[in-house]
Amino acid sequence: MFGYILRRILAVIPVLLIVAIFVFLLLRLTPGDPAAIIAGDMATPAQLERIRDQMGLNDPLHIQFITWMGALLQGDLGVSLISNTDVTTMIGQRIWPTIHIALLTIVISVAVAVPLGVLAAWRHRSWVDYAVMSFSVLGFSVPVFVIGYLFILAFSLTLGWLPVQGYTPPTQDFGAFLSRAILPALTLATIYIALIARMTRASMLEVLSEDYIRTARAKGVAERRVLFRHALRNAAVPIMTIVGTGFALLISGVVVTESVFNIPGIGRLTVDAILARDYPVIQAMILLTSAIYVLVNLVIDISYTFFDPRIRY
């Protein structure tokens, strides 16, 4: 097992290499010219050309790649083409809001969705089941921004309980952090609650017809314990997968919520960088997210063996 973990952590290296090459090529395939964004509308073709030269965008692809990889191997992610800021600094500024909100979202989602899903499976085809289903359908099909706007309308504008926008680091003032992070987290959580609740329900339904559930009942174990201790753990593997991939997705930033609640997270950073073709930032962001994914997935995979001891690697 220990060897497995080590192998998996080492696997980050080839994964990042593949991603690096892929992203590098992909970026160079997309049209767009960071020089143009820097120079603004009035620039003449000659000026653009000079800026491009200056930024090394006119070098042959392999030279650009080697330069970038060389710097990367020394831990240097480069400098933003647009703002001239160090990419590491930029990401450092922007990643914490995303991580904090992702964590809060996942905690809320799991805390709400799993019990809901369990309940729905337990009362299969009852009104609880249908209520969970309807809620999930809304969660799936209503655009995130609508949910966000509605929350703001209700909690900030009408009731005046919470601020409309912004972000305060929890390390600075936890109360302020919560009051600002709770709405974005709830907004994101609606989708995840929907998804996780449905997944929990589906998975629980399979498990509840198993013999060992009957055994647990024969032991006189309280129904709640039967559901949560016996059934849920057996149903956990797909649920964990959804939670894990969902968390990974959240960590890479959710642009819509970041916009609606004006959170300076990496989702916006990535999209802004893509729209500005700020190559070093895009490349760094994608490398970072894939590294995160590899690690989150490792955690998920290890959690499988915890939930289901029959799974071996």
Partner: protein, 500 residues
């Protein structure tokens, strides 16, 4: 400590005001840098950092720096700093380039005196170095101004009324300015970029809110104090909001326009260009773009309405809502063969979304075959630079906006460059417009200038160098606690007071 939080029209990313013409960077530069000369609300150049004297032959300009000017690092501003800054600016700005063509010498005579000698008179000299857009000559320390003009600067020391707080800068998210305590304002009352820049605030924070409704909500709850632009469709949300005022600060606004590609059929044929002009009407475009007539005006003048050179020769059909029949006749005459015209539609720039959609429909109405291709702005920016055939990665039409001060003179309007491949995208090859511009340079009085401008207007619309589609302005919104804002095309933060 008073902090004013403002939501600007976009996020600040590029910090070098010479390398880019982006408005947000120019606005930023007005915070932290100062200028020698500035145009006031009557389009008159006024002294700012420097007074000037012009020799009688109109060839020598002597600028004398005001006393007590300091950079944010405490060093005094010297003539050498100014010369270096002017040189860097002139290597980028089109107006600056013209002046440099006529420049004999530009030197620092002593610490406070700059002597600029020309080889021939250039009546628009002060207008050009005093202009407020797109690239005004900001004064930086000489060590910074020595950076080549195609390399971005990394030292943000200025001598303006605010200091840039570098530690708190998050590109594209927020930027913080602190009052520069040692700044010595002029005594005159402020007027546009001229006059005294008296700062009453301790800090100004610009935040970028990509979601317009969030900004509106934040303004309503008092989390922010000021919004530079309010989308017209969202105005009803602020209408009944207590403590918030919506008003227009910029008297001129912007001009929206279409540009055709002269290099490739069908728009290499002037009749088909004219057909395109006739197909379009300003009202439909503006109504879709802005919604509320209070914030747009039909304007056929290429130099903008409300400017000294205003003239609307040739724009009758545009103002009358288009003339599809006339357009069709022209197409017929030119023998348009139905080749689809590639119309580029930027989808991520909100002030450019409506024009292509409305125009596509109008062009189709007049008998054009239109292939409207949606793309993000970056793709558009790359593609518009391509001189390939439209079917092969090139293009036929796209739309853009300029602030009126960026097009209000033939000397600065990029749309009136007729030098073929080195002209602005679209590449008109038009010696006549170049000749007209030279005539304009030589005009010494406003009347003479207006006369030449009228001919330029007529020529431009006849050749369809571009299609002006009217003028619009976004209102701003502020909390009523904010007072003393001066009206100007560039939003400035001096003179503002904030009540607690």
């Amino acid at each position: 400590e008073t902090t004013l939080t403002a939501v600007m029209h976009s996020g600040l990313r590029v910090l070098d005001p010479v390398i880019t013409t982006a408005h947000i960077t120019r606005n930023h530069a007005y915070m932290i840098y100062d200028v020698l000369v500035a145009v006031d609300e009557n389009f008159e150049p006024q002294p700012q950092m420097a007074e000037w004297e012009i020799s009688d032959d109109g060839l020598t300009y002597t600028f004398t720096l005001r006393e007590g000017l300091l950079f944010h690092d405490g060093a005094p501003v010297t003539a050498a700093d100014a010369v270096a800054s002017l040189n860097r600016w002139a290597s980028r700005d089109s107006g600056g380039q013209i002046i440099m063509d006529f420049t004999e010498s530009l030197e620092a005579a002593d610490d406070r005196t700059i002597v600029w000698t020309l080889s021939r008179p250039f009546p628009a000299m002060l207008d050009t170095i005093g202009k407020q857009s797109a690239l005004p000559p900001f004064i930086m320390p000489a060590r910074v101004a020595e950076t080549p003009s195609d390399t971005a600067i990394t030292d943000y020391t200025g001598s303006g009324p605010f200091r840039f707080v570098e530690e708190e800068f998050q590109p594209g998210v927020s930027v913080t300015y602190a009052k520069f305590e040692d700044y010595v304002p002029r005594d005159e009352p402020p007027s546009w970029m001229a006059g005294g820049k008296v700062v009453h605030l301790d800090r100004v924070v610009w935040v970028n809110m990509p979601d317009a409704q969030t900004a509106i909500n934040a303004l309503a709850t008092g989390e922010i104090d000021y919004m530079e632009q309010v989308q017209i469709d969202l105005l009803p949300l602020l209408e009944f909001e207590e403590g918030v005022t919506v008003e227009v600060r910029d008297p001129l606004g912007s001009q929206t326009m279409g540009r055709l590609n002269f290099k490739h059929p069908p728009f290499d044929d002037v009749r088909i260009r004219q057909a395109a002009l006739r197909a379009l009407g300003q009202e439909a475009v503006l109504a879709t773009l802005m919604g509320d007539p209070a914030y747009y005006s039909l304007c056929g003048a290429i130099f903008g309405c409300g400017t000294p050179l205003e003239n609307d020769t040739g724009s009758e059909t545009l103002l009358a809502g288009g003339d599809p029949d006339g357009a069709r006749a022209l197409l017929e005459e030119a023998g348009y063969d139905g080749t689809p015209i590639v119309l580029m539609q930027p989808t991520d720039v909100s002030s450019l979304i409506a024009q292509p959609v409305v125009a596509a429909q109008a062009l189709r109405n007049a008998g054009f075959t239109v292939d409207m291709q949606p793309m993000d702005w970056q793709t558009l920016v790359t593609r518009r630079a391509s001189q390939n055939a439209p079917a092969d990665g090139g293009w036929n039409v796209f739309f853009t906006n300029w602030m009126v001060p960026e097009v209000n003179s033939p000397l600065i309007s990029p749309m009136l460059n007729g030098r073929g491949d080195s002209a602005w995208f679209g590449w008109p090859e038009d010696p006549e417009i170049e000749a007209l511009k030279l005539e304009f340079i030589d005009a010494t009085s406003l009347e003479e200038q207006q006369e030449v401008a009228a001919r330029i207007q007529a020529h431009t619309l006849e050749q369809v160098l571009y299609i002006p589609l009217g003028q619009y302005v976004f209102p701003q919104a502020r909390r009523d606690t904010i007072t003393g804002m001066i009206g100007s095309p560039v939003p400035v933060f001096w003179n503002i007071e904030k009540a607690e």
